[in-house]
């Protein structure tokens, strides 16, 4: 928008507004409330609900303020008898066929239609005819639907098209018989549930939370999602010590993601209160014996004694410490302190899928925020698959291309779904990402890269040219396919392309909610890797302290590594393959039961807030480690508050200097860590190593020709998603149940013997026939 100001008169008062501003936004900003349903920021304009009508002088009819761009001298009336009549009229029309379901509708109390009616509607009900009837149904395990309540604002269809690029839910039919749905009535989409979130009425509802509680009975607290590295802000709704739902609705929270969440963020929360949570510390007194519940004091003492013994006998380096990229910064910091100051070992890491140490070590420009991505001029995405692994990033890319005319340059060995938005797509051979990173930096490598990656030379040149032609921000994103050397070179792309008018911003794509934090807290500093740790188990490493668990792919091929250890301590939420081999298991509290921070892939440090009391005897990870440290003779001195730990972080981690919890308390104004940027680092040695590596790549190879199905990664069953019954349905192909009138969960057991649902989450197991008349 331009900075030029023009004059607009609203209800008799003069205002100066930026030229090009939208009238509805201007009126609302200036305190003149205007009702609307279909108008939604950054979504395609509709002007279909007709609630936002205003009178503009010299225009013959009432105009929808959402479509009017202010012009100089415009005279607007937003409050008058005719406008009030129109507003009452539109509300009356919307309520005509709308069933009076408020007493049984999940949305009651949070419903925009209710609120709009209170504020703008008439007092009389004149509609005495028969309302159009549609049966309630389920569109998927996650989405319940009552079509009769629909006011056809089309927020759901626009969100599915524009945010997700999936076009799964659409409007069918015509006129008063238009119904939101999908062909054949069953949704096989990514189940993000954004359609539910943006729906202003109770038409689309969270099927996993259906009929459980009323919104005013819930305590809502704002926190950061604990799944992927995008760090969406969400509001957990809890009641009676149990988390019931996770929403991003703008009346509760307004973070970087707006009302966006993905299937895991929105529906993955049942693990928090799951009955399989480890309840007490447990000790396996004899190898091959059972884990026996113990008190915290006993367990801590036992751990301290045994770790001491191993360190005595085999040296400090024989004790390895493994953190998890899911832990809070506070937990990782205390773990790091424990590892380096107390244990003094050089063998530590986290169970993250790949390391970004080399990237951060050669960082040549700032990290992009998600807002930067939306407004970027060019986006270069090498490897990764944000649609599946960092869905918020995927959404920002799609909107940047659609609304911001951004150019997407896609480099991937798999034709991921984002190719639909890509202007340039380099479809490379698998494991040749390094070659492209090399060529982007060094144009003399074009023909080498083209040969190894199996693409045209001029295509690589075109990709590079797209960066060079950009005016505005260029965001460089990359996944775990790049080696450390390639990361270093890519991180210095800024020295080649950054100018005063063109910023080169970076957006690494690690997998977990605090992968970045794990790096920042130092837990990725050591050259050890998880596989390296397992390889050395029984030899160089005799004891492991694991906060979290090894990933299944890390344990592959090392199944008996853990059993070779003399001593294994695991802090975890649930029993895993790692705890199965543990000598001591300590119950950790989940992210919903503690305060802390996560750092996302923008480098934004965002608050995690306690929503419910810690379950059973679990404790926050940092408290456990502090207690162990104290037992081992080092008092970390925290006054049992996470903010005290964070203060220490801000004093020891340069990128976090000056941060305090009060500074982080507003999720609408996130704070970015101040990473060290070296604008012109010498990467000549990395370049020659990279050249050698690329030259060693084969000259032939088949390409992957199939786009992975939606949900290939999103629906994967992991420790946390395993505890959500609906994920098992999704992971098993989302079979269409016999009838969509009843929740699919209640029907699956009867029709599909191929997989067993973990029934712990089913409140009542009832047969379908009992529920449908």
């Amino acid at each position: 928008m331009s900075t030029e100001l023009i004059k607009v008169t609203i209800n008799g008062k003069d205002f100066e507004v930026p030229k090009g501003a939208r009238l509805i936004d201007v009126c609302r900003e200036k305190g003149f409330d205007i009702p609307s349903f279909c108008y939604y920021s950054d979504l395609a304009l509709q002007a279909s609900c007709r609630m936002c009508l205003v009178r503009i002088e010299k225009m013959p009819k009432l105009q929808t303020s959402c479509t009017i761009i202010c012009t100089d001298g415009m005279i607007v009336t937003t409050q008058s008898e005719e406008i009030e009549k129109a507003q009452r009229g539109m509300t009356e029309f919307l309520l005509a066929n709308h069933p009076l379901d408020c007493p049984v509708c999940d949305r009651g109390g949070e419903c925009e239609l209710q609120e709009m009616t209170f504020d703008w509607g008439g007092l009389e009900e004149r509609f005495t005819e028969k309302k159009n009837y549609y049966a309630e149904r389920y569109l998927s395990p996650m989405v319940a639907n009552d079509p009769q309540r629909c006011i056809l604002c089309k927020r759901c269809t626009r969100v599915c098209d524009e945010w997700m690029g999936e076009d799964a839910i659409e409007a069918g039919g015509r006129g008063a018989h238009t119904v939101i749905g999908t062909y054949l009535g069953w949704l096989d989409c990514s189940q993000c549930g954004n359609c539910i979130e943006v729906c202003p009425t109770g038409t689309l509802l969270d099927a996993t939370y259906r009929h459980q509680t009323r919104p005013w009975e819930l305590a809502q607290s704002i926190t950061t999602c604990n799944f992927c590295s995008d760090g969406c802000q969400m509001s957990l709704g809890s009641r009676g010590g149990e988390v019931r739902r996770s929403v991003a609705r703008d009346r509760y929270v307004n973070g970087i993601n707006g009302e966006f969440l993905c299937v895991k963020g929105r529906f993955g929360h049942p693990f928090i209160n799951h009955e399989a949570r480890i309840r007490t510390p447990m000790i396996r007194y004899k190898k091959g014996g059972k884990l026996i519940p113990a008190t915290w004091d006993d367990a801590i003492r036992h751990v301290a004694e045994r770790l001491d013994a191993v360190a005595e006998e085999h040296g400090r380096n024989a004790v390895g410490v493994v953190g998890s990229p899911r832990l809070t910064n506070e937990a990782l910091h205390v773990l790091y302190k424990f590892t380096t100051e107390l244990v003094g070992t050089q063998n530590y890491t986290t169970t993250d899928a790949f390391s970004l140490r080399s990237f951060f070590g050669h960082l040549g420009g700032p990290l992009a925020t998600h807002r930067d991505i939306r407004y970027a001029n060019t986006i270069v995405l090498i490897g990764g698959d944000p649609s599946e692994l960092q869905p918020l990033t995927g959404k920002q890319i799609r909107q940047a291309v659609r609304n911001g005319s951004s150019t997407l340059v896609l480099v991937n060995s798999v034709p991921i779904r984002l190719r639909e938005q890509a202007k340039i797509f380099l479809h490379i051979r698998p494991m040749t990402e390094d070659a492209i990173a090399f060529a982007l930096f060094d144009r003399s490598a074009d023909s080498l890269a083209a040969q190894k990656a199996g693409v045209e030379e001029n295509a690589i040149a075109a990709a590079r040219q797209a960066i060079a032609d950009s005016t505005g921000d260029v965001v460089v994103m990359f996944g775990g396919e790049l080696t450390a050397t390639a990361q270093a070179v890519l991180a210095q792309l800024s020295q080649k392309f950054a100018t005063r008018d063109r910023r080169i911003l970076f957006h690494p794509l690690p997998l977990f909610n605090n992968s970045i934090g794990a790096h920042d807290m130092g837990m990725m500093e050591a050259p050890t890797s998880p596989r390296g740790m397992l390889n050395a188990a029984g030899n160089g490493i005799r004891a492991l302290y694991v906060a979290g668990s090894f990933l299944p792919e890390q344990l592959e091929g090392h199944e008996d590594a853990l059993s070779k250890l003399d001593f294994l301590v695991v802090q975890e939420l649930f029993e895993t393959e790692t705890t199965a081999a543990a000598d001591v298991v300590l119950p950790a509290a989940s992210y919903a039961e503690q305060d802390g921070t996560f750092t996302n892939n923008d480098g934004l440090v965002q608050r995690v807030r306690q929503s419910i009391p810690a379950l059973h005897q679990s404790k926050p990870d940092w408290v456990i480690v502090s207690q162990l440290a104290k037992e081992l003779g080092m008092d970390f001195g925290y006054e049992m508050s996470a903010s005290a730990v964070f203060r220490e972080i801000s004093e020891t981690v340069p990128a976090y200097s000056g941060m305090r919890y009060p500074l982080l308390k507003d999720e609408t104004n996130p704070v970015q860590a101040k990473y060290q940027v070296t604008e012109r680092a010498d990467v000549s040695s990395e370049l020659s190593v990279l050249r050698e590596c690329v030259e060693k790549l084969p000259n032939t190879g088949d390409k992957v020709m199939v786009t992975p199905d939606v949900g290939t990664e999103l629906f994967k069953i992991g420790t946390l998603t395993d505890k959500v019954a609906q994920f098992h349905l999704l992971a098993n192909g989302n079979p269409r149940p016999e009838t969509t009138a009843v929740s699919p969960l209640y029907q699956i057991g009867r029709q599909n013997a191929d997989f067993q649902l973990p029934i712990a989450n089913l409140k009542n197991e009832t047969s379908a026939s009992e529920l449908v008349d």
Partner: protein
């Protein structure tokens, strides 16, 4: 059924009764493609637009927008391709003139489109025809093939640098697609929802490129405008409504059909009682909807002895509108309550559902009509219906909302007797 000109020499209906009138041969032997030749021989695109402006030709589909002005809105310096789209979605109840133009004289439409395309620097034209008129699409395709073979459509027309390809396109049963932006949505393969104006199609239309959408009858007037000159065409009619208009007459008349009248024909009573053969079975005239269902219904006493001139201004002065010229005549046997209910059902069925007032309002109104018809009428229903219409009119996204309100508003106000007796009387009026 009659097809003839009254009060003027047939212009658009000149060839409709000739044997093999559809063929290129007959068309050419009766003045066809001469206008095209005249244009390509020495007129510039601006010359063409000026002639059309002088002709005072107004859109014949119903909106009545001055055609020359519409064409002049197309930006000449736009690098995008330009499109000429013929709106042959004729679905306005009571209107059937375009059908016979396409059935009997398809080449006239082709020639009109070619001239329009030339004036707009367009190389592609589409004839969006309603799906029910499939046989006309077939006729049009044959005519286009003939024209192509004769070098009249395609590249290097008549050996000049001007090239234009014309394609037929089928609709599939949606009245809303007669609205120009909804037509463009449909032509792009989307649901037929109207679009926001501005931007107007002339600036951003089909595939976001400059597009002119004109009714069949508008385009078929163009060759004659070129041949006789804009001024001469205008003089056939009145100052603000130039040329001739086709009126589709149906209902309780002895001679329904398509009539070509000069604009400003004097007068409507004569037209009904003499030219159209008077009322069937000697009954009395009760009501007329002169311009397609979307215009105000007229009482007989607004026509008889009132000297209603049949042009845009004349009809407005008489309390209605030219619209599409769908002239429906109703005699004393018609219950206006029922006829209005019939039309309201039409609008409800055809409402695209995009905006709240039209979608919910037409549905509600139909339900009220049904309730009253079944004996559940209440005295307040008249006011309720008027109020619902008032909440739809002017508030909807496109003119279909207005079109749905006007028949009801005018019927209740002008034929209260047909409504009142169905509404329970709580006290004696």
């Amino acid at each position: 059924m009659r097809i003839e000109a009254i009060g003027c020499e047939p212009l658009q209906l000149r060839r409709v009764h000739l044997e093999n009138s559809r063929t290129l041969d007959v068309y050419r032997r009766n003045g066809g493609y001469e206008a095209l030749k005249k244009v390509l021989d020495g007129m510039s695109p601006d010359d063409v637009i000026n002639e059309v402006k002088k002709s005072a030709l107004r859109g014949r589909g119903g909106a009545g927008f001055p055609t020359g002005m519409k064409w002049s809105f197309v930006p000449k310096d736009s690098p995008k391709p330009k499109y000429v789209v013929c709106n042959a979605d004729e679905s306005e109840p009571g209107t059937f003139k375009d059908r016979y133009l396409m059935e009997r004289d398809p080449h006239m439409l082709i020639e009109g489109m070619l001239i329009a395309a030339y004036s707009l620097n367009s190389q592609t034209g589409y004839i969006y025809t309603r799906g029910e008129y499939k046989y006309l699409i077939d006729i049009m395709d044959v005519a286009l093939e003939e024209a192509r073979a004769a070098g009249l459509v395609g590249k290097n027309i008549l050996g000049t640098n001007f090239g234009c390809e014309i394609h037929t396109h089928t609709g599939a049963g949606a009245y809303i697609c007669g609205e120009e932006t909804a037509l463009l949505s449909s032509l792009e393969g989307l649901r037929g929802h109207p679009r926001m104006k501005p931007p107007f199609p002339a600036v951003s239309g089909l595939y976001a490129a400059p597009t002119v959408v004109n009714n069949v009858e508008t385009l078929t007037a163009v060759p004659d405008i070129i041949k006789m000159g804009g001024e001469a065409y205008q003089k056939l009619g009145t100052e603000k409504s130039g040329g001739t208009k086709l009126w589709s007459v149906s209902g309780h008349v002895n001679s329904p059909g398509v009539y070509e009248l000069p604009m400003g024909y004097d007068d409507m009573e004569k037209f009904i009682m003499e030219d159209c053969g008077g009322i069937l079975d000697g009954k009395k005239l009760k009501a007329v909807i002169p311009g397609g269902s979307s215009v105000y219904i007229m009482r007989a006493d607004q026509i008889i002895g009132k000297d209603v001139r049949m042009d845009y201004e004349g009809l407005v002065a008489a309390g209605s509108s030219v619209g599409s010229g769908g002239f429906i005549v109703m005699d004393e046997t018609v219950d206006i309550f029922e006829s209005t209910k019939n039309l309201t059902e039409f609008y409800k069925h055809e409402s695209c559902g995009w905006c709240t007032p039209c979608r919910e309002g037409t549905d509600w109104l139909v339900k009220v009509f049904k309730r009253i018809e079944n004996g559940g009428g209440r005295i307040e229903d008249a006011q309720l219906m008027l109020d619902l219409c008032d909440n739809i009119e002017g508030k909807s996204f496109c003119p279909l909302g207005d079109a749905a309100s006007w028949p009801i508003q005018s019927a209740i106000k002008r034929f209260p007797e047909d409504f009142i007796h169905r509404l329970r009387r709580l006290n004696v009026d």
